[in-house]
């Protein structure tokens, strides 16, 4: 993606530079050629409709190319490929807390293997932050109270800057870190040696799920007081009030914190609210666990189905 963004950027720069050169040359040439001379009067010209139409429509046409190209890149940036490894990100004043699906926790550092799609599921504990890795050309605001996502695939090992790009208070400029891209073998070694793991995120979530008593109602048969959660993630849910929503990370999040907001059809609003009772990290673990109950279908796991056909999947890449 970095290459793609750069190509578009260069295209924009070249077109803009041509425009600048055109305008500046005309201004300079006219200013020199038609400077005041004794006895020569200015020639009064009303205007010209064909010219006006030309310089309205032509730029519009060029703008449309910019728009379409930019929109295409944006579209693939906003749609992570299926089967991407997931990393949960929590922003807080003033640090990044990251947790891999495998359970490794990091602060202000993200280790990823080269060539793998990484999807970031991000939220904030306090104010708005923005997760920005200039080398990958990705940036996404991180909001309190909901998940936002972005993704990338690093193509070259190295260490890259991670910045907070949305002003977040005193130490905004100190909320920086790095993304370390490693060769797969190296990454495996790091995974093995990374101390802070206490089991995968999903298994932590499962423990919490039991500990908080969720499992007593959300049973894996149809007898529970709450809906069976197996195999539901990523599919539409029919609600009590007749609406249908997609069960995504934000829906799961909301249903844990404020269960009465969108009650599944056929169930009673009896679940207690967990707002203020679970931390962002615990919430992430629960979401990861519930997602793990719905493994992506085998076929979708390896191909990024969202990329335009005939192309390799487009992800932010390091060049």
């Amino acid at each position: 993606m970095a290459g793609n963004v750069d190509a578009l950027y260069i295209f924009l720069t070249v077109v803009s530079a041509l425009m600048c050169v055109l305008v500046f040359t005309l201004v300079v040439v006219f200013a020199a050629r038609f400077r005041r001379r004794k006895g020569v009067r200015a020639e009064q010209i009303e205007g010209s409709l064909p010219l006006e139409i030309t310089w309205s429509v032509l730029p519009l046409g060029v703008f449309f190319v910019f728009f379409a190209w930019g929109a295409w890149i944006y579209f693939s940036e906003r749609t992570p490929p299926q089967g991407a490894s997931e990393v949960y990100v929590v922003g807080k004043q003033w640090m990044w807390k990251l947790e891999h699906a495998e359970g490794q926790r990091e602060i202000n550092q993200l280790h990823v293997p080269v060539g793998r799609d990484i999807k970031l599921i991000m939220t904030s504990q306090d104010v708005i932050h923005s997760f920005y890795v200039p080398a990958f050309r990705i940036k996404q605001d991180v909001l309190p109270g909901r998940y936002t996502t972005t993704w990338f695939r690093a193509t070259k090992p190295g260490t890259y800057h991670l910045f907070c790009a949305e002003y977040c208070g005193t130490q905004h400029s100190g909320m920086i870190g790095s993304v370390v891209v490693m060769e797969p073998a190296e990454y495996q070694a790091w995974l093995g040696g990374g101390g802070a793991t206490t089991g995968s995120l999903a298994s932590n979530g499962q423990a919490l799920f039991t500990q908080l008593g969720c499992a007593t109602c959300h049973r894996t048969d149809t007898q529970g007081r709450g809906p069976n959660l197996v195999g539901t993630f990523g599919k539409p849910v029919l609600l009590e009030d007749g609406r249908t929503v997609m069960e995504d990370e934000n829906y799961v999040r909301e249903s844990i914190l404020v269960p009465t907001a969108k009650v599944v059809s056929g169930f009673k609003p009896v679940m207690p609210a967990f707002q203020g009772m679970v931390s962002e990290e615990q919430l992430n673990a629960l979401v990861a666990y519930i997602k793990s109950l719905s493994p992506p279908s085998a076929g979708a796991a390896n191909t990024a189905s969202v990329a335009p056909s005939g192309e390799k999947p487009h992800g932010p890449e390091v060049h």
Partner: protein, 229 residues
């Protein structure tokens, strides 16, 4: 606003206008433009209302049902009545009925005060029931049409936040209007307005009608939602 300028300067033509017609047209256009800005001013809040009503549909319905529809309806009637007295006061000014004019202006002020009085009773009621947003906010209830589905207090608080913000801003406009009309009443008493010059009354009338119309929107949005369930 422009009514001020004209009022203080006297009915005679201001120096920079070429004739009375131009002056009147300018004042009236100015007032209309001012009302356009007022629409945008309330527009931001209506926009916020729209968003949250969509998000927290049932909770808003439940919170709305705690409002006293009778007081709201009574106040609506009071305001419509005051619009009538304002319209009539313009007629009185046009036809040069000074005492009628003063009477109608006083009636308008009185109706405005009645409205504010009722509003104060309603606000007081909210305090008693802990429906004022903040630390002591408390709300319990069920979503209309969904027995057993409890209302999320945060969402109900959002309703009351918007309720206070919108009715508060409206009440502020009422207070300004009453101040304006008190001044006009005094000037009318002195015989300042004649069938030839009554632009300030006309413009203050426009303002008052505007404030009424805002209420005509606020009343259904705040009091009447989900009443059928």
């Amino acid at each position: 606003m422009d009514s001020h300028a004209a009022v203080e300067h006297g009915p005679e033509l201001l120096h920079h206008f070429s004739d009375a017609e131009q002056q009147r047209n300018a004042a009236s256009l100015g007032m209309w433009l001012f009302l356009v800005t007022e629409i945008m001013f309330f527009g931001g809040m209506f926009c916020a209302y729209l968003v949250y009503r969509y998000w927290y549909f049932g909770d808003f319905g439940a919170a709305s049902q705690t409002l006293d529809i009778r007081l709201g309806a009574f106040n609506t009637a009071v305001l419509i009545g005051s619009s009538l007295t304002v319209a009539m006061s313009i007629w009185a000014a046009q036809t040069g009925r000074r005492k009628v004019l003063v009477g109608l202006l006083l009636a308008t002020i009185l109706l405005g005060l009645v409205f504010l009085g009722v509003k104060a009773v309603e606000y007081h009621d909210k305090f008693e029931h802990h429906h004022v947003p903040g630390a002591s906010f408390h709300f319990e209830g069920e979503v209309p049409g969904h027995p057993g589905l409890p209302v999320n207090p945060y969402h109900a608080q959002m309703f009351f936040s918007l309720y206070f913000a919108m009715t508060g801003l409206h009440a502020l406009h009422m207070i300004i209007g009453i101040g304006l009309f008190s001044y006009l009443t005094y000037k009318a008493w002195t015989g300042y307005y004649t069938p030839k010059y009554y632009t300030p009354i006309e413009n203050a009338g426009l303002y008052w009608h505007f404030v009424d119309i805002v209420w005509i929107y606020l009343f259904p949005l705040l009091y009447l939602i989900d009443r059928h369930r």
